[in-house]
Symmetry: C2
Subunit: 350 residues, 2 copies
DNA sequence: CTTGCAAATGACACCGGTTTCCCTTACACC
DNA sequence: GGTGTAAGGGAAACCGGTGTCATTTGCAAG
């Protein structure tokens, strides 16, 4: 490894501050870390020296003595860029001006070496904690690995996946039910559903919400109207082709995410089917896509930024002096957003 | 700051390896860092001990001795999530299994404290280097700040912004010209242009490409057909309303990015204007939106992932043993992608 | 004016590497 | 065999903080 710059950055060290203030370095350390065992006078004196010298504690040295890097890691394999980035924004909002850095590490769920890769990364970087975004947040092995490595973690999911300290959840089931109810209220009785991939908790929760709502309305569940997608645009197109081929076709389709809803819409427009007059569509996520396609999609806004902030706060609350140790919520509520992709079914078709 | 886990992680240290191999810790250090001054026998013996003990050098300790954290930072204020995430993917591809971590740090270009914030962050984290995404990559003050702090940097832009070691660029001007030529070749003579925000280099480059192409074809430049947007969907809608109100309206519109192109398309569909029969549209970026709207947008694929990888390689090539020190390119080429949003103008309108 | 005890502060080792400097070796040459 | 040179290897200092534990200080009680 080659040399870069100079080790002596000219930055004042804790020793300089100690000398300047006429105290021991340990006392300076106490001031930095907000120890309560200090005279106000001493604290003030040291703070003044820190100001005067422009001292910034060296994070590497702190990390060495502390045994962990002042870093939290976002582990994810979520394909939706907007989701990941919004979540990042939430985290950054929570850690704001602290000494913490946010590192990102995508993982490959399909690789058999995934756990080893994560272990290696955690050993090399020794972060304070990790944040897990779905779908890998649903993997219990990773949570166990973190515990074994002494790394904190918080999992984000569409349902409660862990205890309150290690989990942030949204109420997907309830919100999909609400969205579905709005279709029923508009008069729809034949409603298609595009579910997410098998094995995903979010897919299960959302489908359960759909079934809750139709059961509640006394609508018989028709398996032919449920299509299994994979959260991708293309699978939404496939769903559209499949569901519109059913006789009679559904008058409304609920998709488990916006990308698939966009795929549905694409197929409808391609075939000259008018949305929402001839077909109502609802998505999930409130991704930019939802409002950027025509007609704008009714959807469920998933509070991903807020979840990121909450998850990060749970992770770091013991390290940040200002944070109150009060209980933080586990579940954050989504909102149903009505736009232009829903209308009552056409009489001729009912 | 509270205590977490245990400092003694049970990990073997360099001392354990030294004892196991029967050499001094310095010799082990030499092996780790690939010093050439060692007997092959010694090297082999130490490597064997490292294997046997499963030794992983503690990054904090290395960082302390080294003076910098083994971390590179992505500084960005780019609003496009897909762009940022693709760039991240490229970086991660380049740093792969090395000891380096990728941290992300969004900045607020509109804040007067931006430079101070960045300075503070660099002082606190002391990363190896930073990667700058447009539009802040165009800010020379940040580059100067990095140099002053002894932090390496690489800037990414739509044009060459710095010397070869500190810059990765795309050929936007050329590609927009190519896209525009395809419209001209289809028969369009009245072409609208939606430019990016004032002060953005990318906006300037792309507009220049547009003007190159129409000048080349002998088409008079009509200021009424140029609308200034801000790269957002909504400004694309505004552009659509403005440009379609011109008499006669353009038969084709070139937008400086896909989001604005999507806004144009939205307005056209809303008004019942058929795309591409009555209006051709071309975007720029090849964001997922471009292929997820109907009709799918012709666009220019911006090699953002590849740029991320290249930029990261430039940044770290002196640190990674395997990297050849050969010259890396500065400019990466984009590709024009034809989809379904372009058709010849309708005869009645020409 | 002691004594006692808790609060405030300091001395020093330590975290786990790298660097400096010096001492062995090994070998070539005279 | 003696000596010069260069390479290999080790002891100790160092990077800049934090933890432990002993010591000093301040103040109330006796």
């Amino acid at each position: 490894m080659a040399m870069i710059g100079s080790a002596e950055t000219g930055q004042p060290t804790i020793n300089d501050v100690a000398a300047h203030a006429g105290v021991s370095k340990k006392t300076v350390s106490r001031v930095i870390n907000g120890s309560p065992l200090l005279t106000d006078a001493t604290r003030a004196k040291v703070k003044q020296s820190i100001e005067a010298l422009g001292f910034v504690p060296n994070p590497q040295a702190r990390a060495l003595a502390f045994g962990r890097n002042f870093m939290i890691v976002l582990l994810h394999d979520n394909p939706n860029a907007q989701t990941v980035l919004n979540f990042q924004s939430g985290i950054l909002q929570a850690i704001g001006n602290t000494d913490l850095a946010l590192a990102v590490r995508p993982v490959d769920r399909s690789s058999p070496a995934m756990l080893d890769d994560i272990r290696e990364f955690l050993e090399k970087q020794r972060p304070l904690g990790v944040l897990l975004l779905p779908p890998i947040s649903e993997n219990d092995d990773i949570a166990r690995l973190c515990t074994a490595q002494g790394v904190r973690y918080v999992r984000v999911g569409s349902a409660v996946l862990d205890d309150a300290d290690h989990c942030v959840a949204s109420n997907d089931r309830e919100m999909v039910a609400a969205a579905c109810r709005s279709l029923i209220a508009a008069g729809h009785r034949s409603i298609g559903f595009v579910r997410g991939p098998a094995g995903f908790r979010s897919a299960l929760e959302r489908e359960t919400g759909f079934r809750d709502a139709i059961a509640e309305a006394g609508i018989r569940h028709d398996p032919a109207l449920v299509f299994q997608g994979n959260y991708r645009f293309r699978s939404g197109q496939d769903a559209g082709r499949a569901l519109l081929a059913v006789t009679p076709p559904p008058t409304a389709i609920l998709a488990s995410n916006d990308e698939m809803a966009a795929g549905l819409l694409y197929v409808a427009l391609e075939r000259g089917i008018k949305v929402p007059q001839e077909l109502s569509i609802i998505g999930f996520d409130d991704s930019p896509t939802a409002s950027h396609i025509w007609p704008a999609l009714s959807t469920v806004r998933w509070p991903i930024l807020e979840m990121g902030e909450l998850a990060a706060r749970k992770l770091v609350r013991d390290f940040l002096p200002g944070e109150d140790k009060a209980d933080l919520p586990v579940t954050l509520n989504s909102t149903f957003i009505e736009r232009d992709s829903v209308a009552p079914p056409q009489p001729s078709r009912t």
